[in-house]
Symmetry: C2
Subunit: 567 residues, 2 copies
């Protein structure tokens, strides 16, 4: 086809005047517009679909007899860092689940090293099989009530624009700053005015929600009840149903997802670890669970692809139709969403294809710069018994603001595992100020020892919970030695650990290795009494002060409802 450009070649292939690069043969195609199952070949040319519903000849032919083709799934909001692996391993782990587009917000790494972290994801997106779209992080740090490793201003964001992976501004978490028109927030909103801005406004409603949406924010993934999601839908937001490793909203929002609403609803994972991806799946898990709960298959698959493409202005995907990217998933049955083959821009996601990708050197090594801690650093002095306690709600990143009486002994409020009241501490680790804040949390079930982590949303300082101060110091100090990660310690020994040397967030190991380490960590945590299914991510989110109601940062306990640090 020498001398013809891609467009001309695609028309020729579509008409049958030239052979396709690849023909998918023998499968039926689910048409997401009419709901029909269509017969005929799918002809692919230069990574795009040139023809459907007809007979085609191709240089290569892939027999998919007996299978059903659906458009590739689009994860509409996630932090790849939460998979604990690099974008390359994320690609290899998740594409086989049918995810051909991942719209990520790299604000975890950006909180550690700033713009260079975003550029790392941008560069990585040029090599992955799936199409990784890199939104620009709007809130680094998430608020003024934490110490992050870096900050991104509107001017910094302006310099990051223009990469082909970009769509717009990532989740605007500082919703109080939006509705109160903070100057730096306005600068960022103006920069993206008329463009795409993702939302994050848990529990916002009424005129406050109107103000937030009037700012030009069009998507939202924090609704945890159908009522909350319905108001957001009725005010024009695209509601992204989220099912992460901690934030599990699928069951609550499923009743709202019907054929009527599906064009305006999407799916996302936000934060999902490789254990859950391995055990349950990814968007494929969400699709089959939704259908199992009674959602019409057409609505589930629309939300997973076409509606997502529409919501984000990705006009080149979301349907298996001429002129679209050849992002195609072959499943055994629509109900089971059992993925048998995945094509990303016409390239089948196989071991060979993953091996043939280019790569990018990791960034943000040696990012843990905390001072050496001792047991007494974890004491929590006070002069009255009434104590603010973070109440964990398992499966949610929302927390309860509890108040418990805890006696002051020897100038310290001691953990009381019998009442499930254990110490939580956040230790600044970017080498900025050496802050340490302490408080109480209920819900881990921890009976002895300690757990520490550099995954600590979004500032990614060190989060540590424990019953024994010496074990807390041991676990936290160990993080400095392994360049960050997760540590479980008890009785003066490290029981399990996972090194995450890329920004203290991502492993350099294959995802299978990370999965095995997480299993060991979970077992170790359970051995210390932990009852939570996902203690590490659940711990990480206790530090995120843009999710109600009570959180903790390196600067202290945060009343998120009042949006202030508790004195």
């Amino acid at each position: 086809m020498t001398g013809k450009d891609g467009l001309e070649r695609r028309i020729a292939v579509g008409r049958g005047d030239a052979p396709a690069d690849l023909v998918l043969r023998g499968a039926r195609t689910l048409d997401l517009v009419t709901g029909a199952l269509l017969e005929g070949d799918v002809a692919i040319c230069d990574g795009m679909i040139a023809g459907t519903c007809a007979a085609y000849e191709g240089v290569q032919t892939r027999d998919l007899s007996g299978l059903t083709l659906v458009p590739g799934f689009i994860d509409t909001h996630l932090h790849i860092e939460s998979s604990l692996v690099t974008p390359f391993e994320f690609d290899r782990c998740v594409a086989p689940h049918g995810v051909t587009t991942a719209i990520c917000d790299p604000h975890e790494i950006a909180n550690v090293i700033g713009a260079e972290g975003i550029r790392y994801f941008q560069r990585a997106s040029e090599h992955t099989l799936m199409d990784i779209r890199v939104q620009l992080s709007s809130c680094v740090p998430s608020t003024h009530m934490e110490t992050a490793g870096a900050a991104l201003s509107a001017a910094d964001l302006a310099e990051l624009r223009g990469h082909p992976s970009g769509i717009g501004l990532a989740e605007f978490m500082n919703y109080p700053g939006v509705i109160h028109r903070d100057p730096d927030v306005m600068d960022k909103l103006r920069l993206f005015e008329g463009g795409h801005v993702d939302g994050h406004c848990p529990q916002l409603s009424g005129r406050d929600l109107n103000a937030y949406i009037a700012a030009g924010i069009s998507t939202e993934h924090e609704a945890t009840t159908a009522e909350e999601a319905r108001e957001k839908l009725q005010k024009g937001m695209r509601v992204l149903i989220r099912e992460g490793s901690v934030s599990k909203d699928l069951h609550a929002l499923q009743p709202l997802l019907t054929e009527r609403t599906a064009p305006y609803m999407c799916l996302c994972t936000d934060d999902r670890n490789p254990l859950d991806i391995g055990e349950e799946g990814h968007l494929d898990y969400m699709i089959r669970t939704l259908i199992g709960l009674g959602t019409p298959a057409l609505a589930a698959y629309r939300a997973a692809s076409l509606s997502a493409a529409e919501a984000f202005g990705l006009k080149d995907r979301g349907l298996i139709a001429p002129g679209k990217r050849a992002d195609i998933v072959a499943v055994g049955s629509l109900e089971a969403c059992d993925v048998r083959a995945v094509f990303c821009g016409g390239v089948e996601a196989t071991a060979e294809a993953f091996a043939a990708r280019g790569t990018v050197a990791p960034v943000a090594r040696r990012s843990v710069h905390a001072r050496a801690l001792e047991a007494e650093d974890f004491r929590s002095g006070a002069n009255k018994a009434e104590t603010d306690v973070i109440g964990i709600m398992e499966g949610k990143i929302l927390t309860e603001h509890l108040r418990e009486d805890i006696a002051v002994e020897d100038g310290d409020k001691r953990p009381d595992p019998a009442r499930d009241l254990i110490r939580i501490a956040v230790i600044e680790r970017h080498g900025k100020n050496g802050n340490i804040a302490t408080g109480f949390v209920r819900g881990f079930g921890l009976q002895r020892g300690a757990i520490a982590s550099t995954v600590c949303h979004d500032h990614h300082n060190i989060a540590c919970v424990g019953v024994d101060y010496a074990d807390m110091a041991l676990a936290a100090n160990r993080l400095g030695e392994i360049e960050g990660g997760f540590v479980v310690a008890s009785g003066g020994e490290v029981l399990a650990e996972l090194a995450l040397p890329v920004a203290g967030l991502m492993s350099l190991e294959p995802f299978e290795t990370v999965r095995a380490s997480l299993e060991q960590l979970r077992r170790a945590a359970r051995g210390l009494g932990v009852t939570l299914n996902e203690p590490f991510l659940q711990l990480a989110f206790l530090a995120l002060p843009v999710i109600p109601a009570l959180k903790i940062t390196d600067r202290g306990m945060v009343d998120v409802v009042k949006f202030e640090i508790i004195a």
Copy 2:
């Protein structure tokens, strides 16, 4: 609100921290996403919606108690010239029917005077109450088989880009040129690659349709059967249901419009004259007719607004929700679609508001440059009896290719009104070559006299039908005197006429005057035996060689299926 920009002010108004410019009170709002009827005020600020579903205070309040609010209607494809009035009169005529956005293709005027005609519409769009979006005409002339007043190359289109009224490339009518990859067609497609390109491909299917869509063409309004429309939908096109004055596809396509498909279907009028607008309505007529035929109201209103906004990437409209343009229609009942008030970008469409608009001087005056015609110019010589005859299909712009035996007498085939076989002629009128082509048409019912018109798609030469050659010459010559328009003549006298001095296409009179003239013209035509409901537009489309099957241009009879002039 001095010192605050629009964005900041809108957030403040949304939150209730500042008064709205205008509050709509007392009505219910149809939410097109969930189908719910919502209570509460709508707050408007700087022409945009700042808040819904809450109580608001405003500088002005408009009581709409008892009414239902729906998003403003979007006509997704039309030629404003076919309304026979200027864009300003079109605005005044059609906005009160609830149309707040009209996506027009100015290719009628462009065929007469080229780029300057498009610039006229672009400039007019800056002053109208409704938002007129001006697509760039892709096919001027529509084919190589006609003489137009001007031609637009890809380079010409490149210079016309950048006006805020633009979305993309208007209907690509030269579908044979697309699927055969004609070089000039490819130049235009490449110029708009990745952007928006409107389609026009009547009866195209199978691999030919695949090729056309693979070229990046995303909308289509020429489907005349549900089967044709279904294939286009299933291949990813947005199907625009058309109900013009001649092309009436609503009844045929209505069964395809359901809640399932509505997000991917739209409404358009293409070519609708002010008589029909006055007698039936505009998109309001389509909506109430669809609902009357059994279409769910939600599906009809979605197609009329939200789905249209999505199809054309108009992210700022299609819903009554914060952050959207205040394009709002108040109806008495959803079923009747009886429009009681219309707000275009927050401005109510009242006589005062229309009077307050700015204006633009008309262009393309004195555009009729045909030679003086005599009766014998209309003779049609031939040497065999078998004759190609255009068979009119009332209510369609498609025609039948008939073959009739017509005797040659005195070197001429005479009209035979008893068999409803009358003369049709197209006379070049741009002063280019003086061409005249003659042929036969069946379907008018004309028994005597003649009808002539400078509205003659898309080249807009003079189209003339008649039984009497002298009357044909009289009618055609009269058009030169009145700067174009419509003329009905019989017995050597002009019986009725309408001057259209703007490019021979548009009147300078108010639409009410044009409507009265059209009534007279129709009466005069009926008096001559014409049985067609809309003889003038029906005549005009007999000259359009991109609609099957048999047409006529100044160069001769055109076999559209073979895409060639009949020798």
